[in-house]
Symmetry: C2
Subunit: 507 residues, 2 copies
C-alpha cells in the first residue's frame, strides 16, 4: 500500500518538485500559508465562524512518513507519452534521501480554536520541493477535519447544553469516518459510537441497541418485550431502549415502561429511551408524558434520525409550543433530550467541502533574502496576502473578540491598533488602548526543522479551547442563520506591501 | 491504532453481540441484506441509477481483520455506569477466538454494475453476532464508494466522451480520499491525480503544474513565460500549461503559445492548456480560437474549478451557442475538452451520503429452520422485503434492462414473468417470452465460509461492467435531471410472504 504514505499527494506536486530539482530551486526555503476563503454555507443556513481541526493527525502522519525504496520503484515506472521515464533517477535519488518532512518548520492555530477566513491558520516553512509535496496531505488533513468540527460545533450549539453523540460511521466517507469522529469530539460532541477511534483517543464509545435486535427476537425468540427484557437483564444500570421497531407509542414506550418498572423493582434505575423515526418533537412530548405518568421523570430521551443543527432547533421549538397541550413542562422535556447525530454531521450535509487553500507567500532568492509572492485575481477578495505573516486576535473591553488581524512577520501589535479592510485599503478603523482588553498572537510554532516543539495537548485541550473561544465570540457571530460578519483586518504595513505588489504587477 | 481494525464498528454492535452471546444466540446463522432506499438527489438534479462500488476493499479488509489481544484489553476496560465491566470476560474470550469474518458467506452485485433501490445488493450469511458487528464496516465501505461511483458516472456522462480526471484529494474527506479516487475510476474517470492510490490500483496518476510554480518564478526567477519554458524544457512531450495565474487571455494563453512554438521548433508537440478560473465556456472558445490561429488545433483544453455534471453540461451548451461568434467550430472545441473534477465529485456535492442500510431478513430458529424477519413501518416504502432472497434483471426484446426483480431464494425465474409492485400488491404486469431477451441473476457468491470464491476481477472489470450496463439502460433513466423511474418489482411468492407477515404482525 503506497496510498497512505508519502505518495498520498497529487501527481503535479511531484512534477513541480522535479522541476524545482532540475532548476536547482528544490532546497530554497519557501513559505506557504494555509487559509480558507469563506465559511461553510449549508444552503438555508451558514456558519459565522469555523473550528480549527486536523493538526494533530497531520503532524503524526508527517513524522511517520518518508519516501522509501518502494516509492522509488513505483515512480521509476512512470512514463512520458514518448515512453521515457517521467521521473529521472537523480530526482528519485534525491527524494530517497530528502523525502521526508524532517526539514519542515510549522506554525499553526491550535485545534479547537475559532478561526476566520483569509487569515494564515497554518504556516509552513520548508525546502521548496518538500513544501510543495506537502500541499495535498496538509489540505486533506486540515480541510475535512475543520469542516466537520465546524459543523459539530453548530450542532452542539443548537442542542443548547443537551448532549450530542456522534453516530455517523455507517454513512461517513469510508476511512474519513475516523477523522469525522475525532473532529466531532473537537466540535463538542460528548462521545462517539465509533469504538476503535474512541479508544485510540482515550474515550469510551457509546451506544445501546438497534432495530435488528428486536427483529431477531420477533423472528425467533418472542417479541419486542422479550428483547427489551433481555437487554435490561444484561445491562441493568445502562438500559436505553429503542422504541420504534414496531410502533413507538402503542408498543415501544409501553413495553419499555414495563421493563423499566421491572428494573426498578430489582433496584436499578433505567437510563433512557431512543426515538429514531416519526415526528421526533411530538413523540418526545408524548413519550415524556407517558414516562412521567409512570414515574420515570429522569429517563433520558435520545433522539436520532437525520438530525442536524436546524432539525434540532426546529424540534426544540416545536416542543416549546406543543408540550403544554399534553400537560408536560416543556423545559423539562428539553432538559432530558440527548441527540444522536450521524450522516448530516459527519458529511457536513449542505456544504461537503471546506475551501481551505495553501498558497506560496514567500521564497528565498539567491541572495538568501525572502521575496514575497502573490497571486493576482480579477476578484479583489481572491488576491492573497503576500509575504511572511503573523496573526492576532484583538479583544474588546468586555473580553469579546472584535477582530482578527493579519500582520507582516516581526510587526509589534500594540494599542492604538489600526485595522485596514483586507480588500478596500481606504476603509479602516483604529482601536485605542481603552478599547482593547487583550491582543493575542494566534499562531504557535509546533515544528522546528521537523522537531515537535510546544505541546498543544490532546483532544481534551482542543475541546476546552473551543468552549473558551465561543464564550468570547459575539452571539451574533454564533447565530445559526444569517450570522453577523466577524471582522478580519490587515495592518497598514501589510496593506502597503499588498498594494505595492498589485500595482507593480499590473504595471 | 485500533481504529482501522475489528473495532471499526459502532458500539451498539458489541453490546448486541454480547446480548446474543448471553442468550446463546450468537452462533445462530442469520442473513442480512444490504440495500439502499433512494437514489442520490442533488437538489436541482437527481440520479436515476446508482453504481455499485466498495466491495473489493471491503473483502480485503474482512480478510485481514480479526479481534486480537489488544482489542480484548481495550474492551475489558469499558465500564457500566456502576463501575462494572461492560464487556464480560467470557464474551471477550469468545470474540478472541471467533472474532473474525472467516465464518461469513457473502453474495454481492459486482462493482461497476448499475443498481437500483430496495433490491438486495449484498447478502451476508453469518453467525448472528458476527453478522451484527459487520454491519458498520460493511455500510461504511459500500455506502461511500457507491455514492462517489454514482456521482462520477454522472460526471462522465455529462462529459459526453471527453476525459474526466479526478483531482479531488485536497478537499476529499481525509482518508476517504483514497476510496473516492478508486470509486471515481469505477464511475468512469479516466485517471486520478492521487499518486499512491493510482499506483496501488495499477494506474498512473496524472497532473501537470499549479499556480504556485508560476508564482515561485514570478517571485525569484522571472515570470510566467520563464515558468512555462522551464516546464516545457523538462517535459517536452507532455506539456500542459496552466494559463490563469496572471490573466488567461492577456498573458497565459499568449505565453503558452510562444512556448508551444518553441517546442514545435524542437520537434515536440504540446499537449494542452488548463483553464482554472473565470467563465470556462467563454474562455474555452477564446482559447481554442487563439490556439487555432497559432496552428495548435490539437492542443487539449483542460477545464477545472468547481466542476460537476451540471456545470459541465452548462459549459458544453454555452460553447455550442458561443463558438460561432468567434469563428470556431463548436464541435471541435467540445472534442478537445478534458475535465479535471475535484471536490464536487469526491464529496458528492448536493447529496453527501448514500442511504444504504443493512437489515436482518432471516434467522435460524432452534430447529435449524430459517425464520424470515421484517421491519414494519407506517410508510409502506420503508417496510423491508423479508426472507432469504435473490435478485434478477430482465431485459426486453431490444436488450434494454426493463426491470429488476426480487424473488425468494430458490425461485426459478422464467417467462412468463409476473412483476408485482413492491408496495402495491394489486399492481402488476406480466412479461411473456417474446418480450424478454434475457433474465440475468445479479448476485454472485464471493465468500463461502470466509473463503474467496468467484473471481470478479479488479477495477478494470468493474469499469467494463459499468459501461456495459449503461449501454443497456434506457436513456430516460440515465438523464441527469428528472430521470425516468426504473422498475423494481417483486415476485408473487415474495409479495405473498410479505403480505402474510404484515398481516400477522398487525393482528
Amino acid at each position: 500500500m503506497l496510498a497512505d504514505g508519502f505518495l498520498f499527494t497529487d501527481h503535479y506536486q511531484l512534477t513541480m518538485a522535479q522541476l524545482y530539482f532540475h532548476m536547482g530551486l528544490h532546497e530554497r526555503r519557501s513559505q506557504f500559508d494555509y487559509f480558507f476563503r469563506s465559511y461553510p454555507s449549508y444552503g438555508t443556513h451558514q456558519a459565522g465562524y469555523a473550528i480549527a481541526a486536523g493538526l494533530g493527525p497531520l503532524l503524526d502522519w508527517m513524522e511517520d512518513t518518508s519516501f522509501g525504496a518502494e516509492e522509488v520503484t513505483a515512480l521509476g515506472k512512470f512514463q512520458t507519452s514518448t515512453g521515457q521515464p517521467e521521473f529521472r533517477s537523480d530526482f528519485l535519488e534525491w527524494l530517497a534521501g530528502a523525502g521526508s518532512f524532517g526539514s519542515v518548520s510549522l506554525w499553526a492555530v491550535p485545534e479547537g480554536r475559532v478561526i476566520h477566513p483569509n487569515t494564515p491558520l497554518t504556516v509552513v516553512e520548508a525546502p521548496l520541493a518538500i513544501a510543495q509535496i506537502l500541499e495535498t496531505p496538509l489540505l486533506n488533513h486540515l480541510n475535512f477535519a475543520s469542516l466537520i468540527a465546524s459543523k459539530a460545533s453548530r450542532v452542539v450549539e443548537a442542542a443548547s447544553g443537551g448532549s450530542v453523540l456522534e453516530f455517523g460511521m455507517r454513512r461517513a466517507p469510508a476511512w474519513g469516518a475516523n477523522t469525522a469522529s475525532r473532529a466531532s469530539l473537537i466540535g463538542g460532541a460528548e462521545a462517539s459510537s465509533n469504538v476503535g477511534m474512541s479508544i485510540d483517543l482515550g474515550y469510551e464509545s457509546r451506544g445501546t441497541h438497534a432495530h435488528s435486535m428486536v427483529q431477531v427476537f420477533m423472528a425467533i425468540a418472542g417479541g419486542e418485550l422479550e428483547a427489551f427484557r433481555a437487554y435490561a437483564d444484561l445491562y441493568p444500570d445502562d438500559t436505553t431502549l429503542l422504541v420504534d421497531t414496531v410502533d413507538t407509542l402503542e408498543s415501544g414506550v409501553p413495553n419499555a415502561i414495563r421493563v423499566f418498572e421491572e428494573l426498578r423493582a430489582k433496584g436499578h434505575e433505567p437510563r433512557g429511551i431512543r426515538l429514531d423515526s416519526g415526528d421526533l418533537a411530538h413523540l418526545s412530548v408524548r413519550t415524556a408524558q407517558m414516562l412521567n405518568v409512570a414515574g420515570f421523570e429522569n429517563v433520558k430521551i435520545v433522539l436520532s434520525s437525520q438530525l442536524d443543527e436546524l432539525t434540532i432547533w426546529q424540534i426544540r421549538n416545536q416542543i416549546l409550543e406543543e408540550a403544554s397541550r399534553y400537560d408536560v413542562d416543556p423545559a423539562r422535556v428539553l432538559s432530558r433530550l440527548v441527540y444522536g447525530v450521524g450522516s448530516r454531521m459527519v458529511t457536513s450535509e449542505g456544504d461537503s467541502s471546506f475551501d481551505g487553500v495553501y498558497k506560496t507567500v514567500a521564497v528565498e532568492d539567491d541572495r538568501g533574502d525572502w521575496q514575497p509572492a502573490i497571486k493576482i485575481s480579477d476578484s479583489p477578495a481572491k488576491i492573497q496576502n503576500p509575504g511572511r505573516k503573523s496573526l492576532w486576535r484583538i479583544y474588546d473591553r468586555r473580553g469579546i473578540a472584535t477582530a482578527d488581524l493579519v500582520s507582516l512577520n516581526g510587526e509589534e501589535i500594540a494599542a492604538p491598533v489600526t485595522l485596514i479592510h483586507p480588500t478596500q485599503p481606504g476603509v479602516s478603523r483604529t482601536l485605542t488602548e481603552p478599547e482593547i482588553s487583550r491582543i493575542e498572537p494566534l499562531l504557535v510554532k509546533v515544528l522546528d526543522g521537523g522537531k515537535r516543539i510546544g505541546d498543544l495537548g490532546g483532544i481534551d485541550q482542543a475541546r476546552t479551547r473551543r468552549i473558551a473561544d465561543l464564550q468570547q465570540l459575539d452571539p451574533g457571530v454564533r447565530r445559526l442563520v444569517n450570522p453577523h460578519t466577524y471582522h478580519v483586518s490587515i495592518t497598514p504595513q501589510l496593506s502597503e506591501l499588498k498594494n505595492q505588489m498589485i500595482q507593480s504587477f499590473r504595471a
